[in-house]
C-alpha cells in the first residue's frame, strides 16, 4: 500500500517537473529555522546589528554595505559543515528523486535583494549559457515569504526552447528584443517561508528589481548526478573539483577509487 502511494507521488512529481520545469517542496521547519539562526549569527558577527530582521533588512543596513556582508556570509556558509548538513537534510529526498543519491554539488550561493535595488539582478538565462551541464538541477530556498518580483521567475520548457532557438539561430535580434517578447511567458514562483523549489536551470530563469516591500534572502545550490554528462565544451571548467566541489560517491565508486581495477581494463 505504502509502496503504491510512494510511486504515485513520484509520478506526480515527474509530471509536474516535465511540464513546468520546477517542483515545490516543503522544508523541515526545525532545520530551516536553524539555518536562519546561523545566518543571523553571521550578521551579528559582521555588523553592529543586534537583532537582524531578514524581511526588513533594508531598514537595518544601507545598500552600499550589503554586498561585502553578503560575501562574508557566503564564505562562512561554504565553510560551515553544520549549515551544509542541515541544508542537505532539508533537500535530501527531493534531490535523490531528481538526480539520484550519488551526486556532485557546487557552492551554496547566497542572494539578498533589497526592494528597489538594481545591483543584484539576473536577467533571463539558462545555466548552460556558460557551459554548465544540462543534467543539472538547482535547489532554490528563500528565508522569507516571496511572491512576484521578490521571487524568481521561470519560463516553462516548451516556451524556453522556442526562445533559446531564436537566441541560437537568429542573426538579427538582440537579447533585449527576445526577452521583451518573452515577458508574457514569465511565471513568478510564490513561496512561503518553509517551502523551496527544485528547478531545471535549462529553462530560462532569473529575477528583476524587487518591487515588493520586503528584502529577499535566498540560497541556491546546483546538483547533478556524479555520472551524468558534464559540460559539452571540452575545455570548460564546469566539472568536478573546479565547479562541483562536493562529491558524494557511493560505496562501489569508492571501492574503485580505492583499488586499481580500472587499470586492468585499459
Amino acid at each position: 500500500m505504502k509502496a503504491t502511494r510512494n510511486k504515485d507521488k513520484y509520478l506526480q512529481l515527474e509530471k509536474k517537473f516535465l511540464k513546468n520545469g520546477y517542483v515545490k517542496f516543503k522544508a523541515n521547519k526545525i532545520l530551516l529555522n536553524s539555518l536562519v539562526k546561523q545566518i543571523k549569527g553571521y550578521i551579528v558577527k559582521y555588523t553592529k546589528i543586534k537583532n537582524p530582521n531578514l524581511k526588513n533588512f533594508h531598514n537595518q543596513l544601507q545598500v552600499s554595505k550589503l554586498n561585502s556582508l553578503r560575501i562574508k556570509i557566503y564564505d562562512e556558509l561554504n565553510k560551515s559543515k553544520n549549515f551544509q548538513e542541515n541544508l542537505h537534510f532539508i533537500g535530501e529526498k527531493s534531490i535523490e528523486q531528481m538526480v539520484g543519491s550519488e551526486f556532485v554539488r557546487g557552492n551554496l550561493n547566497l542572494s539578498i535583494q533589497y526592494p528597489g535595488d538594481k545591483n543584484s539582478l539576473l536577467s533571463a538565462h539558462t545555466d548552460f549559457f556558460s557551459g554548465e551541464s544540462i543534467f543539472q538541477i538547482n535547489l532554490w530556498i528563500p528565508f522569507v515569504d516571496v511572491k512576484k518580483t521578490s521571487s524568481m521567475f521561470i519560463i516553462n520548457p516548451i516556451k524556453s526552447i522556442k526562445l533559446l532557438k531564436k537566441i541560437k539561430y537568429s542573426s538579427k535580434f538582440t537579447m533585449d528584443k527576445i526577452f521583451k517578447e518573452a515577458k508574457k511567458d514569465i511565471r513568478w514562483i510564490p513561496l512561503k517561508f518553509g517551502e523551496y523549489i527544485i528547478f531545471s536551470p535549462n529553462c530560462l530563469h532569473g529575477n528583476v528589481t524587487n518591487q515588493e516591500k520586503i528584502s529577499r534572502w535566498s540560497i541556491n545550490v546546483r546538483y547533478k548526478n556524479l555520472f551524468s554528462p558534464y559540460s559539452k565544451i571540452r575545455e570548460n571548467e564546469k566539472k568536478i573539483g573546479t565547479f562541483y566541489n562536493k562529491i558524494n560517491p557511493k560505496i562501489v565508486t569508492k571501492f574503485n577509487m580505492f583499488y586499481e581495477f580500472d587499470e586492468l581494463i585499459k
Binding site: F128, M175, D176
Partner: protein, 126 residues
Amino acid sequence: MKKVLKPYVLNKKFGEYYLPVRFQNKLMKLYCEEKSLTYSLPTGEIVFGNNYIQLKTLIKNLKKGEGLLFMSLSVLPSENKLRSIFINLLKKKKIECHFVFENLVIKKEREYLKINQFFKLIKFTK
C-alpha cells in the same frame, strides 16, 4: 571622471587560450585598477551558437563614455565577414576597446585596422 569599461568574456576557447571566467574577471578587474579605469559587471557570451548575440546586445546598449574590455583580440569572431560587422559597429559608435593579453587600446578610427591585421598575422604564422 574615470572611463567605465564593460568586460566581455567567453566560457570557451578564444584562439589558443582558455581561462575560466572567474579568473578572466579577476585579471580584468586588476587591469582596470592598474589603469585607473572603472570595472563593471562582465557579460558572458552564450556557449552554443556562433552569432555573438551577447556582444551585439552589449555594443547596442553601451552608453557614452563607456568602453569595452576583452581578454584578447582572439575573443572577437575569427570569421572575417562576421568580425567586420562588429568592427563596423564599434567604429560607428566610436567605442574604445581594451585587449588585456595584447596590452592594446583602440581609440582612433584608423586603429581599428589593427584588429584585422592581427588576425591576418595569426593566419600567416599558423
